[in-house]
Symmetry: C2
């Protein structure tokens, strides 16, 4: 099982730090909000989609990526290095 | 002068890594969007508001804070440790 720690959960953002040990996974889930991923340690994780498709996700500190709300996936750590990243979800319209 | 590096600037987020060396500052500016700050190194910076008010901001890796759009401030590094943080601005309505 992966573990998580909520840093902020206010009316603007939900910010969660995720940790997936080697061999563990974040079970299949869908993000209700657009989100950004900011890696804290160099590692590789695998996104497994509901249809079985698998996507390799390289995590590099100092880089980031974003995804739209609504995509379901399971995140697996098949490597030997732990996976640690901060996930930032945007809650409210701000523009 | 502070320096910055844009990690992502897409239709959902703008993610910028900021670095303020000791003695430097990010000049007075206003955020058009709600934003989150994720410190990468332990340091202290000072927010100087247009009316001269000064707020100490302690930056600790593994913590985060958020602010609403519209607040003007100048961010100063008066310490001896450099200030490094990632700033995440939320662009589009997502809920």
């Amino acid at each position: 099982m992966a573990s998580s720690r909520t840093l902020v959960d206010d009316d603007r953002f939900r910010i969660v730090e995720w940790m997936i040990e080697p061999g563990d996974a974040i079970e299949m889930h869908t993000h209700p909000l657009d989100y950004a991923v900011l890696p804290l340690e160099r590692a590789v994780m695998w996104a497994v989609l509901p249809d079985g498709e698998e996507l390799e996700v390289r995590l590099t500190p100092g880089e980031a990526y974003t995804r739209a709300a609504g995509a379901a996936h399971r995140m697996e750590n098949r490597g030997t290095a732990r996976v640690v990243f901060t996930e930032v979800e945007a809650k409210a319209p701000t523009a």
